[in-house]
């Protein structure tokens, strides 16, 4: 494994340096039919799950076949995507904002060969490489984060929980039988890189044990004031600690009862690890949305306070999700998002029809606005 230089000269980093050039220009990448009709689209139709046609004012059409992307993706897989795009789509493709892949062709007769090609490709384990779907009133890809594959703060895995969930929701990825679109998102810790706080269903990794304190190293590895000020609940205080060997070191003290396990201190200081086999697990949230359609965007609500990490398939989690999707599918009106449905029937009925337990954890007690989530009304259902 000999080091091969790119041309970069570490002695003279500024030599020939190119910076601030930004991304490639999007126009380079547009398929012909897109470039030509941009801004002049007339309408579209979802012909079948995963297959869209967009019709331009010019009469031109672009057919899009959308396939599930498992966004943790190898170059081998990307190369295979390229191969398909070269074969069917003049070497163009796009990714969606939810990490699906869209293959576009400019005439109807190119659709079937493309679909057949996509469907034919499977991994040895049996999973589809390119499942077609993810459009309309169904489930699409789960936006997610790193989890155990790469991050230092997760309370659960991302790719694993997503695979487990998409397997159970797969039918709804390939159908459009739900009342409206249902967006599932995943974030492996409270930093919420998936911004799951406005999703129909959100899977969230959560710690439940206050940080351990690695007194021996803390002052060496961390800036104590930063760790202290990182805590939203002011649970951390500076402290002097005597180690087993009698040495006195500067460190911190944590008031465990004030901790809500956000991990923000750990982000600032590696000597405060939280991760724990039993402590860590999953919070499920539901009823959020982002679109402004009919109702305003809204936050997801915590509906299951905790489920343990059950590797590799998190059955308690997928079970709770399945219950919600089924209850929603049975109960909601056409065009009604999950959160709008829950509000219409009342959250008390939501728990009933989803067969989920309501526990004290689900009552807000964070900051003053918690008050607004309590019930200031005699209107409720028994």
């Amino acid at each position: 494994m000999a080091f091969i230089s790119s041309g970069y000269n570490p002695e003279k980093p500024m030599e020939n340096r190119i910076t601030d050039i930004g991304p490639r220009h999007f126009e380079e990448f547009y398929p012909e039919v897109i470039k030509k009709n941009k801004g002049k689209w007339s309408h579209h139709e979802i012909l079948e799950p995963g297959v869209l046609v967009h019709v331009a004012e010019s009469g031109d059409e672009v057919y899009t076949v959308r396939v599930g992307g498992c966004r943790l993706m190898s170059t081998t897989h990307i190369n295979e995507i390229c191969e398909i795009a070269e074969k069917h789509c003049d070497g163009h493709l796009r990714f969606t904002t939810r990490n699906n892949i869209e293959f576009m062709v400019d005439s109807k007769d190119k659709v079937e060969p493309l679909k057949n090609d996509l469907k034919s490709r499977k991994f040895p384990g049996g999973s589809y490489k390119f499942p077609i779907g993810g459009t309309g009133a169904g489930v699409t890809n789960i936006v997610h984060t790193q989890g155990w594959i790469h991050c230092h703060t997760p309370a659960t895995d991302a790719s694993g929980t997503v695979k487990a969930t998409m397997d159970v929701l797969f039918d709804d990825f390939q159908q459009m039988r739900l009342p409206a679109q249902l967006r599932v998102s995943m974030a492996c810790c409270l930093n919420m890189c998936g911004a799951v706080h406005c999703s129909d269903i959100a899977i969230l990794g959560y710690h439940r044990k206050p940080p351990m304190i690695d007194h021996e190293y803390l002052d060496r590895l961390c800036e104590i004031p930063l760790a202290i000020s990182a805590c939203p609940t002011a649970a951390i205080k500076p402290a002097k600690v005597t180690l087993d060997d009698g040495k006195e070191v500067k460190s911190v003290e944590i008031k465990n009862e004030r901790c809500m396990f956000c991990g923000n201190c750990y982000t600032m200081c590696p000597s405060l690890p939280l991760a724990d086999t039993e402590g860590d697990g999953i919070v499920l949230m539901a009823g959020g949305k982002v679109s402004n359609r009919i109702s305003d965007p809204k936050f997801s609500k915590v509906v299951v306070a905790f489920l343990p990490n059950e590797m590799p398939r998190w059955p308690s989690m997928t079970d709770a999700i399945t219950k919600m999707v089924n209850a929603y599918s049975n109960g909601a009106n056409k065009y009604e998002r999950l959160g709008d449905w829950a509000e219409r029937i009342g959250w008390e009925k939501f728990f009933e029809v989803c067969e989920l337990d309501f526990t004290h954890h689900l009552i807000d007690d964070f900051r003053q606005q918690a008050y607004m989530s309590w019930r200031q009304s005699t209107q409720f259902k028994f």
Binding site: S6, M14, Y128, F173
Partner: protein
């Protein structure tokens, strides 16, 4: 044969959804075989070890990655996330395993020639594992060693005409919906605005001068396909000011259940919801109830329409967005830490999106906000938190925007108004002795 046993992960190879485990295994195998004869610049078995460390996490229920140190490319304050394994003896191939964020093209369209250049580079100098794409929008190169960072950057910029994306207390790589490139709902060209702002603010993107991260996202209409209202400090959402355009013939096609006119463009085809009923499905669901359908004519009281998109989404061949187009700007969205999540709050109800003058009206708002935030924001304080701390009024003041009822969902419920001294006749200085003449103790 695999380097590590992965019995738990193996169970994730079954089931219909694409298995990332299968993909990683295929990648491990490709690297092991190395049929292309790549002179791998990081351990050839990096992916084997990645599978190994992940399996260990599946066993322990805990991550095995440590905090990243400060690694990066010269002169840039972001674009690289350092990462080290906490069991380097067991998994030397991923002992150093940094990610690089490569700025994605707006709209996320690609030519395969370009993608193949990327994969080639990444096979050569990295793990060959990516995220397509990261949650912010970047192309993520997942896993390389420190010495490779500058090399990759050099090749990217010199050979691929491609820059890194953001990380750290910077502007982050802006992201957009596909917009007018392929969507009839687009109220502006989100790809163009996204590209312009990304380039206009390269300095802010690469050199940390902000209190914390800052994100732009562009949704070309209120449907919000890039979720900007939930995920960006500044969210540009297309809208229009004039009337929705109605094609009455097409409306009647929908009403008549013409098969060429499926409700919601066919999004509900998977279930039989009965024949389309314009009263129930459109008029009754319009949040403002501003539509009427009488004598085969649909009329919209546009002054009361809040442009929620529902009717347009439902009858896309009959209804079109208006012609006086622009965008609304919402600010402050962020993830929950520290004080709870925020969605963007409406700051600019309408602004033109005009490439002719370099989007002047938009950059003005951006820059006045940045000036304020850079002046007043505390370390690690997001814009949304600053607005909460100093008040929405302050935001209006620094941006020079007039307060309007559009800014609120409802006016304040508490009368705790902080009057300023110059707003109150006679000012605040008073003479208690004079007062006591009229009001004995």
């Amino acid at each position: 044969m695999a380097k590590h046993e992965t019995p738990l992960l193996d169970q994730l190879e079954s089931g219909p959804w694409p298995s990332f485990v299968s993909d990683l295994k295929q990648q491990a195998e490709v690297r092991a075989k190395n049929e292309a004869g790549v002179e791998f610049q990081i351990p050839q078995d990096a992916v084997e070890d990645l599978l190994g460390v992940l399996e260990l996490s599946f066993k322990h229920g805990r991550t095995h990655w440590k905090h990243g140190g400060i690694v990066g490319v010269f002169g840039y304050g972001g674009g690289v996330i350092g990462r080290y394994c906490d069991q380097p003896k067991l998994f030397p191939g991923v002992e150093h395993f940094h990610t690089m964020r490569v700025a994605q093209p707006c709209g996320k369209y690609y030519k395969t020639s370009y993608l193949r250049e990327l994969t080639k580079l990444w096979d050569f100098r990295g793990s060959g594992v990516t995220n397509m794409h990261g949650a912010t929008g970047d192309i993520i190169f997942l896993g390389t060693t420190t010495p490779q960072l500058e090399e990759i950057f050099y090749t990217l910029t010199h050979d691929l005409n491609q820059d890194l994306g953001g990380s750290g207390s910077n502007l982050r790589t802006p992201a957009d919906c596909l917009g007018s490139s392929r969507c009839q709902y687009a109220c502006y060209d989100s790809n163009a605005l996204c590209h312009f702002l990304t380039n206009e603010y390269q300095d802010e993107l690469h050199r940390p001068a902000f209190p914390y991260k800052f994100k732009f996202k562009m949704d070309a209409c209120p449907n919000g396909c890039v979720a900007s209202i939930a995920r960006s400090d500044m969210s540009f959402i297309g809208t229009w000011r004039d009337a929705i355009k109605v094609d009455q013939d097409a409306v009647n096609k929908y009403v008549e259940n013409d098969p060429g006119y499926p409700a919601n463009a066919g999004a509900h085809k998977g279930k039989d919801w009965g024949p389309f009923d314009i009263e129930k499905e459109v008029l009754a669901l319009c949040p403002t109830k501003c539509m009427k359908f009488e004598n085969k004519t649909l009329s919209i009281d546009n002054a009361n329409c809040t442009r929620c998109m529902h009717c347009i989404n439902t009858m896309p061949r009959a209804l079109r967005i208006g012609d006086d187009r622009g965008c609304s700007i919402l600010v402050g969205a962020k993830a929950p830490i520290l004080d709870g999540a925020q969605m963007g709050s409406l700051l600019v109800p309408f602004v033109e999106v005009n490439p002719e003058n370099d989007y002047e009206a938009i950059t003005e708002v951006i820059e006045s906000i940045w000036d304020w935030w850079m002046e007043e924001g505390k370390n690690r304080e997001r814009l949304g938190e600053l607005i909460m701390r100093q008040g929405f009024q302050k935001l209006l003041e620094v941006t020079g925007i007039d307060p309007q009822p559009q800014h609120v969902a409802y006016p304040r419920t508490n009368p705790y108004i902080f009057w300023k001294e110059d707003e109150v006749d006679g000012g605040w200085e008073r003479d208690v002795v004079e007062y006591r003449k009229h009001h004995l103790r």
